[in-house]
Each structure stands twice: as C-alpha cells, then as structure tokens.
C-alpha cells in the first residue's frame, strides 16, 4: 500500500517510457507526422549510426571525455582528501570552497566559464599572455581545444563531490593499521601504498563508477557553451540524441542513440564490476 504511489508514478514515468523508448528505437518516426508516420524499420537505425559522422564523433568524444576527466578527478579529489584528512588549519572553509562548484547551477557556471574562456579578451588567456605564452589556445572557438576546455570545467565542478566521498572513506580506515605500520618501520610513502590505497579501494571503485557514468551524461555544458561545435568537435551522445529528437524530430534515431548510450554505460559498469574482484579489498 505504501509503495503504491511510488510504484504507480514510477511505473508511468519511468518504466513505461523505457519500454516505449526501446520500441521507438526500431522505428523511423517523425513526430510531427503524428502516429501514422510511425514505420518499423528494424535495426536500420542502429546500422546507419556508424556511418553518421556526428554520431561517431559523439561516441569518440564521450570516450575521450571519460578517459581524461575520470582519472583527473580521482587523482585530484584523492589528493585533496588526503591533505584535508592529514590535518590542516581552516579545514572547514577549505572544504567549503572546494565543494562549492558542485552545488552551483551548471547553466550559470557554463556561462561564466564560457566568458572566462573568451580567446581574445578573457581572463584566462590574458593571464596566459602575461605569463609569456605567445599564442594561447582558442578554447571554445578552436576545434582542438574546445573539448579540453569543457573537460577542465567538468573536473573543476566534480572534484569537490568526490573529495567528500574520499574523506568519508579515509575516515573509515582504522588508526591501528597505521600505528602497526609505524612500529614496523614503514615510512609515509610505504604506508600510503600498502595501507591507504588498498583500504580505499571500495571507495575508489565507487568514485570510478559514478564518475564514468556521470561523464557520459555531460549535456548542459555542451548545450550552453558550444552546441557541439566548432564543427562536431564537442558533440556528445546526449547532445546529439537530443538534437536528433527535438531539433530534427527523428524520434526513432534519437531513441536508438539513447539506448546505445545506455549499453555503453552498462557494459563499462559491468566490466568494472567483474574487475573489482581483482583489486578491491573489503
């Protein structure tokens, strides 16, 4: 009885759409034509994708994005957490400052960073020029630098969140382990690699999975800052799927892409889950 509202709502709002989406992905459907425009075309959406430049670029960008931002985020947040945990003054304010980007509205943040990245006049390039860099990157206007620009902003926004998770993980490591290590004569580096890292492996696993999943869900930054450009250098699966469905009204194709996205996320998560037996200690 209690769970009825939740299940009903959830059923209509989530389960049904999921099933529908799967069905639609096998169709060619221009929404504006109404229901009569729905034509089943089997797997054609899925096969066509691979010759679609925007799709392939989206996929490539997503993979690049994950490959760069996830390790960067993990390393930075781990280091920050360790530092904070070791003992610093002003622990609370520092923690606050690092976490603040995470709670802020990504739209507003994208706008601010978009301005910071202004190639000719923005503060970032002005700073670089003053440091002697003769030809600073074109950032959002350059097809080579646009994706890295978004990556930087994304890492900035997420370090705080992951740092908090690591902090919690660190605090769960029993002190006695370190005491014992000290007695055995282990230095700080050794105890880090032999105790801290292994004990943190469940946390690292969690951080890694959530970071990867989130990295595949990048959307707002691309939508607000670059709309996939210049060219198709910053398009990602979420963005292209949206564009196909709501700018071009090709519902079938859009749904097909969304499902590919899901499959990728699922696959990566599954592989990680299997892999954890090898390196995660509980």
């Amino acid at each position: 009885m209690f769970i009825l509202p939740a299940i009903a709502g959830f059923g209509i709002l989530t389960i049904v759409p999921i099933v529908l989406s799967l069905i639609i992905s096998f169709t060619d459907w221009n929404f504006l034509d109404g229901l009569k425009g729905l034509r089943f075309i089997g797997l054609r959406n899925f096969t066509e994708m691979w010759s679609d430049k925007w799709f392939v670029d989206s996929l490539r960008n997503n993979l690049l994005f994950a490959a760069v931002t996830v390790p960067a985020t993990i390393v930075l947040s781990l280091l920050a957490a360790i530092g904070l945990n070791k003992g610093v003054y002003m622990k609370s304010p520092i923690r606050l400052m690092i976490f603040m980007p995470y709670v802020s509205n990504i739209v507003a943040v994208s706008i601010v960073w978009g301005t910071l990245y202004n190639p000719s006049m923005g503060p970032i390039n002005s700073f670089l020029r003053s440091m002697g860099v003769a030809d600073p990157p074109g950032w959002l206007a350059s097809s080579a630098w646009a994706l890295p620009a978004i990556m930087i902003m994304t890492v900035w926004a997420n370090v705080g969140y992951n740092m908090i998770i690591y902090l919690a993980g660190l605090q769960g490591i029993p002190r006695d382990l370190y005491e014992a290590a000290k007695i055995d004569g282990a230095g700080p580096a050794r105890s880090f690699f032999r105790i801290t890292l292994p004990m943190l492996s469940p946390t690292t696993f969690f951080v890694m999975i959530t970071s990867i999943i989130h990295s595949f869900q990048v959307f707002i930054a691309v939508f607000v800052m670059t709309k996939g450009g210049p060219g198709s250098s910053t398009t990602v699966l979420t963005y292209y799927s949206y564009r196909t469905g709501f700018d071009f009204y090709k519902m079938g194709y859009s749904s097909a892409m969304a499902w590919i996205l899901f499959l990728i996320i699922f696959l990566i998560t599954f592989l990680q889950w299997q892999g954890q037996k090898k390196w995660v200690h509980y």
Binding site: P5, L20, R95, P101, S126
Partner: protein, 281 residues
C-alpha cells in the same frame, strides 16, 4: 596543562599543507569571485587586465537590468521556487512512504522490485526523454509545471536513500509500536518518520539542489516562456544579451545565490547527504 601549551605551537608541516590546500580552494572559487566582481562592472571594464577584482567603477545597474529588464526574471524565479518547493515536498512524501514499504513491510518479491528500482538509476535520462515527451503530450500535461514536478517526485534515488536509512533503524521500535496495537500507518508517522530526520533533511537539501538546477527537463517539456524556470530562463537571457557580459554575470549570480546560501547554512547536512548516498550504498 602541558598538553595545552604543546597544542599552541604552530606545526610547520601542517601550515605548509594548509597553504597548499587553501591555494587549491582559492583556485576553485576563483571563477565565482570573477563572476561576482564582473556583475558589478561597467561593460567596457569587463576584460581589463590585470584583473580588477574589485571594480574601480561600480555599476549597480546590472542587477536592476536583470530583474526589471526585457526578460521576466522575477517570473522565472517564482517558477523555480514554486516547482522546486512542490517537488521537494512531493518527493519526501512519496519516497518515504515507499522506503517504509520496502523496509518494514514484507511482501512477496519485495527485494526484486526494489532491485528493479535501483537498476533504473543506471539508465540515462536521454532514454526516457522522448517517450516522456510523447506521454506528456498525450496526457495533456506538456508545457505545464506538472511535467517538471512529476518526474522529480518519483525518483528512485530518494527511495534508495531513505530505505537504506530505515533498514538501519532497529526493529524494536516497530515491534514496540505493534505491541501497542499501532498499524503500519501509525508506526510510520509516529515513529519512523521522526527518527529518520537526518536522512530526510539530507534528501530535502539534495532534492532542492537538483530540482533548482534542473535544466534538461524544462528544456524539453516547457514551451511557454511564462513557465520557464531559472536555468532555462538564464539561457534565454544569454541569447538576448549577446555580449553584455556584466548583465550575464549578474543574472548568473542571481541564479546561483539561493543554492549557495542554502549550502552555507546547511553544509553539514549537504555533506552527510552526499556521503550516505554513496559510501553506505
């Protein structure tokens, strides 16, 4: 007494680490500071270099232009508040009821259903956008605030968070209530709910933040400008202001402020919410 004296000495390595981390923290906050300071500048001063952290010429006008300007920013604010508030209340009610069901009431297949709930967390929003668009159209709630409130209320995450917490509440409490003759409804209202205050607060705060910052749902499901929430209104604003950066920054500040204030006031809950959603899972 000796310990007190020892504690007063500044430890050098600790100081060093503090400086490093404080610098890192400052770096993180820098964009915000720039945003704030630019919102008070005159347009031509925006890109002055070396950066004028405190504007030499203050321009209070920008905020006025944001709020009284061509876009109904105050309407956006009202919409955001309204949608977020209703969604948060709805979320708490629905999710806590569901969590109670999943943790305290035994029925066949309970854990299997819960698992399905959880599995959907992995499904990206993109998958459900198109079908929801169609369903909402069909139900007639497209381009209404309902289209935002309903998906926000029925979140698997909320159920998960609360259920984990409920499972941690010892059975004795509900047992005692049962002995007193209380039914499930009473037990839930009188005992479990009050006990789960910490988790509820975390849920409220997290839920508020997400819903306030929600962009994709309004983008897809709203068409009339009068219904726009802040994130969406902000993008419109940008398109219109073009290169008037001071105006854009003022608008950005106005959008971010409520959540930052909430965050500063309730940091502990925020952080606890983040941790309990992650580590205990």
């Amino acid at each position: 007494m000796e310990q007190k004296l020892a504690g007063k000495r500044l430890s050098l390595p600790k100081l060093g680490l503090t400086v490093v981390l404080a610098a890192f923290g400052a770096l993180m906050v820098l964009p915000f500071v720039w945003m704030l300071s630019t919102s008070f500048k005159l347009p031509i001063d925006v890109f002055n270099y070396p950066i004028e952290w405190i504007p030499k010429r203050f321009n209070w006008n920008n905020y006025q232009r944001v709020w009284n300007g061509s876009q109904p920013f105050d309407l956006f604010y009202y919409n955001s508040v309204k949608v977020t508030a209703i969604t948060v209340v709805g979320t708490v009610l629905v999710c806590s009821a569901a969590a109670y069901g999943f943790s305290r009431i035994r029925f066949k297949g309970r854990d299997a259903v819960f698992f399905v709930f959880l599995a959907t967390l992995m499904i990206p929003d993109q998958v459900t956008l198109v079908p929801r668009f169609i369903i909402f159209n069909y139900l007639g709630i497209y381009d209404t605030h309902f289209a935002l409130i309903l998906p926000g209320m029925f979140t698997a995450f909320g159920v998960f968070l609360l259920r984990q917490f409920y499972v941690g509440i010892p059975e004795d409490f509900s047992e005692a209530a049962k002995i007193e003759g209380a039914g499930h409804l009473q037990t839930w209202l009188r005992i479990i709910l009050p006990l789960s205050k910490p988790a509820l607060v975390s849920l409220v705060i997290l839920s508020f933040t997400w819903n306030w910052n929600e962009f994709v749902n309004p983008l897809v499901f709203l068409a009339s400008k009068e219904l726009y929430t802040i994130p969406l209104g902000l993008t419109n604003f940008i398109d219109e202001s073009g290169t008037d950066y001071t105006l854009m920054m003022a608008a950005a500040v106005s959008s971010i402020l409520p959540v930052i204030v909430l965050f500063l006031a309730c940091q502990k809950w925020f952080i606890e919410g983040v941790v309990s959603s992650g580590v205990k899972g």
